[in-house]
Subunit: 177 residues, 2 copies
């Protein structure tokens, strides 16, 4: 099983500004003639693991954007109503047990999303691939993508491509084990 | 006058590890057939502004690497001996006054180096160009390149190139004013 991060951040490493806002992220439709890199990435994924905050942010978009099953890690969130059954499931237990269960279900490629969940997974060295899109802004404060680690993690650079007519660059890194 | 940053950092934004070490930076000679991007950058520069710590790190290399005049910002460093006159000068006053003086001397392109000095210049919105080389490692702690800012700073992505046989990627950004 491989765990993937696919996320955009400011040059100074924030995924949201001081008020949690993401309006500094380019909200452009994919320019004509450019590949939809997120759609291509999602097609490779079998399921999505995210935290409560990311789930609530996605809910605020008004339209459910995913076609793959979503697992929401939260010990505090109330159970999801039955109408969610085919979209998202709540997981209140240990993240490691969720990974065991997803493996048993035959899932191979997991999209790990949300700042706290990504930090937790990195601190446990459970991330195999990082795809980072750099937005050319210095926010100077906010919600950091990366957190403290017990030891350094080495990656190898796989590829870099320009997006949105060259205004963004996106790099993919694989964990060197 | 334009102020330039040219620096390598870990994927999580550190320029040195928790003990101030930089042995995780690739110390490779420039691979044959690849341009020496730092030499090309330095050729464009008229002078270098750095802090005391960076100056001391450079001294520890054993060989003075610069052919352009260096100005060391420090209020605490003892005066440099006469043998340094053609290499480095100490500036104990306000950084803004140093910029005035360098402008008067006819300098146009300044290389701003060192974590604290870069953060000070960014906090004053004095940086015009950022060239950032990303080393594919998560250090999980250390000396951060970027610090708090009073307001966000917007840049535009100019170019990205791969270095060291594709193991590193380097991007240049210009300040959007």
């Amino acid at each position: 099983m491989a765990n993937h991060v696919f996320i955009a951040h400011s040059l100074d490493g924030y995924i949201a500004d001081r008020s949690g806002g993401i309006d500094w992220l380019p909200q452009l439709p994919v320019p004509e003639g450019e590949p939809d890199v997120f759609a291509a990435f999602m097609q490779r994924m079998d399921a999505i693991v995210m935290g409560r905050r990311t789930f609530q942010t996605v809910l605020s978009f008004g339209q459910w954007p995913y076609t793959k099953p979503v697992y929401v890690l939260s010990r505090s969130m109330p159970p999801l109503s039955a109408e969610w059954a085919d979209k998202a499931q709540l997981w209140g237990g240990e993240p490691a047990r969720l990974l065991d269960q997803l493996k048993t279900l035959g899932y191979r490629e997991l999209y790990i999303d949300g700042g706290q969940v990504v930090q937790y997974f990195l601190a446990h060295d459970w991330i195999d691939e990082l795809t980072l899109t750099r937005v050319p802004i210095l926010l100077g404060g906010g919600v950091p993508l990366f957190g403290a680690l017990p030891w350094p993690l080495h990656f190898t650079h796989v590829s870099t491509q320009l997006l949105s007519g060259g205004t963004l660059s996106m790099s993919t890194y694989h964990r060197l084990r």
